[in-house]
Symmetry: D2
Amino acid sequence: MGGSIFGKAFRITTFGESHGKAVGVVVEGVTPGLPLTEADIQIELDRRKPGQSEVATPRQESDTVHILSGVFEGRATGCPIALVIWNADARPEAYRDLAEVFRPGHADYTYHAKYGIRDHRGSGRASGRETAARVAAGAIAKKVLAPAGVTIRAYTLQVGAIGAERVDLDEVDRNPVRCPDPSAAARMVEAIREARDQKDSLGGIVECRATGVPAGLGEPVFDKLDADLAKAMLSLGAVKGIEFGAGFGAVTMRGSEHNDALTAEGFATNHAGGVLGGISTGAELVFRIAVKPTSSIGREQVTVDLDGRERRIAIGGRHDPCICPRIVPVVEAMAALVLVDHLKRQSALRGGA
Amino acid sequence: MGGSIFGKAFRITTFGESHGKAVGVVVEGVTPGLPLTEADIQIELDRRKPGQSEVATPRQESDTVHILSGVFEGRATGCPIALVIWNADARPEAYRDLAEVFRPGHADYTYHAKYGIRDHRGSGRASGRETAARVAAGAIAKKVLAPAGVTIRAYTLQVGAIGAERVDLDEVDRNPVRCPDPSAAARMVEAIREARDQKDSLGGIVECRATGVPAGLGEPVFDKLDADLAKAMLSLGAVKGIEFGAGFGAVTMRGSEHNDALTAEGFATNHAGGVLGGISTGAELVFRIAVKPTSSIGREQVTVDLDGRERRIAIGGRHDPCICPRIVPVVEAMAALVLVDHLKRQSALRGGA
Amino acid sequence: MGGSIFGKAFRITTFGESHGKAVGVVVEGVTPGLPLTEADIQIELDRRKPGQSEVATPRQESDTVHILSGVFEGRATGCPIALVIWNADARPEAYRDLAEVFRPGHADYTYHAKYGIRDHRGSGRASGRETAARVAAGAIAKKVLAPAGVTIRAYTLQVGAIGAERVDLDEVDRNPVRCPDPSAAARMVEAIREARDQKDSLGGIVECRATGVPAGLGEPVFDKLDADLAKAMLSLGAVKGIEFGAGFGAVTMRGSEHNDALTAEGFATNHAGGVLGGISTGAELVFRIAVKPTSSIGREQVTVDLDGRERRIAIGGRHDPCICPRIVPVVEAMAALVLVDHLKRQSALRGGA
Amino acid sequence: MGGSIFGKAFRITTFGESHGKAVGVVVEGVTPGLPLTEADIQIELDRRKPGQSEVATPRQESDTVHILSGVFEGRATGCPIALVIWNADARPEAYRDLAEVFRPGHADYTYHAKYGIRDHRGSGRASGRETAARVAAGAIAKKVLAPAGVTIRAYTLQVGAIGAERVDLDEVDRNPVRCPDPSAAARMVEAIREARDQKDSLGGIVECRATGVPAGLGEPVFDKLDADLAKAMLSLGAVKGIEFGAGFGAVTMRGSEHNDALTAEGFATNHAGGVLGGISTGAELVFRIAVKPTSSIGREQVTVDLDGRERRIAIGGRHDPCICPRIVPVVEAMAALVLVDHLKRQSALRGGA
């Protein structure tokens, strides 16, 4: 218990607050012998780090990762790998005004209710900054998955009411919103700018696809692959929903329409999104998450302080006006962690005899 | 690992196949001294059992629960409570034809891929019948929640394209689809009948609301309350999506619109659905799940057999043409299990000193 | 939490009280395809069951096991295997006198302190009868280990002050105390008879050896093989100590004496007992446990009742005057469960890539 | 899985190797609001650190702890507390000669067998240095226990054949062997000196007593208090055995002698060592561990290299000729971690309703 451990056969323990000394993670269960360097991890952290474009927060963090243990002469030893990322641009004083007040849409109120004490500096543990640790761990998971032929790609499918009309994965890294449709991407950027100028924020949808996932991953009845992915995604503060394959669209389909026919060449369609009965089918794994509009906005809002008195606040600080672009590498990281965990669980189930 | 254990401080282990000897569950962590009888559990099982209406499967099961341990003189002892429900109307022979073929939309193919062996009798472990064990355990969880003032209610919000237009909880148990809008309920029943007559099936949306949930439940960053609820719901075979509060609707809202203002009287709105930063806010907990159309349909479908040869099958047997009405008590059970688990985890966090 | 689950990759959940309806276990993580019948399990239960000799309790239990799930056509399916053993010779009324009084050396007092409620019938959950479930699960573990070439043998090394002077494994099953030295066995039987006639009881030492354990099992730093075995053995109510290899004898050895030299043919000695740094060495795994004299004795003893008033009691009922002979199969079962768990964990660590 | 996580309701994840960058720990489940500073932790680390006396290793480590997260304005926030201790006096080059050879009595051979790769620098993860992280976490556990009135004291009871003849806790910190009998202490120091001069090492017995432990801690049937303590102690590399209360002495006692009579004033004796049926009795918790003689000795020993060729080695480096004095604070730390875990588990069991 405690809530900062994820996974069973491949397990991570994260720690750290937004404006404390550092964020970090301990990764257990890494296949001994796996080649691993700080650069392998840095490449993923660089995708998540702030300050990369005009549609992201200007906070300046190099997000440099340090491996403290578990790697020897460039290879994982099988012992826990501890990673630390120091908080360089922490400005706790910028949050002093918020110590006494609960920001709407934030975890301020609930942390106070739960713990009776709260680190108010930039959301503390509830900050999106915590996900840097997940991305670092996910980078290791991706390294484990690579030789198994598994590839995971996430991208921004929708921002506000603007949806991508096509998915060209080569386009994703060519625009600041990480949208696979360059035309939609331009309009998304424009919409985010406009919202930011209005001291407001936008929500969106991020889609994730994993190819090369072998059939047979997932452990019914509770630790189903989609159940564990749902938990992984809903554990991200800004995520308010998830759907697999046809998802909520399945509601208005008939069984004869939704069922994916099996043929000698594989599944004819993929309404299931690559999971049946909680186990991977071998088809592409597909899911989408609903990302809420950023809670931190410059507009004046009504709220209460610690004494229950009504207050009006306009949140300064440095925030992303739309979380989608920066959540993309986090979604990939969490998906990778779930997949490696289940790959190793499947090895345990079938092995040992 | 293994996948049949759910929860940490309040923990269940389920077992059983559709056409084996029994399904059952072991419940750990029940508050010692809790008054508990078989009748307390039976009342919930009766809500889930088959054969209750013309829109449900005609399989005849009394689903009588037997307490094997952990209760002494009408009270929980604090030791594990084992519950068994015998399979009375098992007809394994009815499934003999299915031994060699993978039913579309079912877990047949994935169980085969995962385990290399499959109990083909009525879906075996992948059958919805497994959820009887969850409902039995959930009945105990509800008993734990009752004195804490927590009430959980689920209902069918939509069947196919037909949505409830109002929510009157008193109506839910007055119609066979468990819809809180009697007018919509009548049209839903008609639609299900029609689909059944066409040897087809319908999907739907089930909504769940929990009132009385104290603020402070949920353990960031991974074991968030919504994350654990998402896992619980996606662990149900027919569920393909979940959303909390405004859910996917948040995508097109702005931050200024989506943020719930705090007032001296509490939250002014509840777009968050009762969870912020993964911790309960004290407001009503609200989520919706997407239920796919039943996979088992009488229509002829294309599939393959164990040797990869194309086959055509029409599934006989006894199936629900729409799963929504019968999943309602299961959703409540799973929500109750998650809430008790987190109530007890909160006791652990704050206690002991 | 809850305490009735053991293992991670191969995991059991037990339930049941001495004089309730049944004891049982759910076993998760069994290799799919493993041949398994009730007879495979019964053979181990028969070794543990009461009433087998004059030095054991006369309670009559057939201890017949029933497989409720997870086995199909004689093979494990990979889904949870539930086993139930009904309590046939339960005589709860025989314990009515004990409802108000705490038996010395028993868990009566501590269960009362922990739970505030107590099933006083024959020790309830604290009864040695609970170990029938462990033996049943251990029988499955032994089946998993057999093809891997692992053999586990436990035996009574000492009863009171009488120690075996040689270890001939063929002798173990030829005498009622399960001693590998027939000459010592005869004296042990005599000593137990004498203690029983004096309404008293005896303690002893049970030794366990596992051969064929591959090098590399155990997960530092906490889930070391010896740490998990120690937990497994101390989880038996009558066990008060454990030692590996030279054990407490190592205290008076020097490093130069205790260190096992490695040679081209393997370890020259085995003072380590087959574990170094918490990982199996490939040498024979050897440990001994201290078994306390049975708490239930016919002699009059001083104690207190629920109100703290002094009382004198002489315990009737049917008890083993020395627990060693009947704990032997339980020790083997627990050792098998730990070894399979670690075999599968090792598969997870090295696999999946 | 992975093996570096300990505890459930109060949970630690450790990392780090002897001659890597750092050792550290993440502590979860700390009661929010607990006053905590680095000095609180440092005081315990200083008791364990090397170089304190002539009978300990001369390795120079300040073992300064750094809190990276989970503490805000001098109080625990309820979020994970990460602690790091940098390795200052790491001399990896000193171990270059050992890369190709397995030291007798060490984990070299088993790590190689398990992982196929080994960090040979000063035993890597298998080094006793890893326990600094445990002591740091244990210092927090002690802070949680203090207001509950629980006190834990460990001490050296025996070194080689020299045993303490009386237990005066005030004496423990007045001599370098941490023996509660000053006369025996002097002889122990002499014996250790002599062994060191002979390039050899000594074993010993460490006893631990916890007072103020409330009755009711421990979770049958597997997570018994003594079972979890046994696991905790056997997870220390040098420990080869454990016994509670009368321990192995119970073997030659009769039931009438071993049973502790209950009186209106409490237990008349404490042969049980404070645990009955795996639950604390409220009496003093007492256990002893067998500590093997240090494996690293200067004497020439026979062993093999990676290719199985016989080699002779004399181990240089800086080692404790007897581990007992320095294991004392580690034993206390592990006992504290187990007790807090069970205090919080008990809160969960009884709470939430």
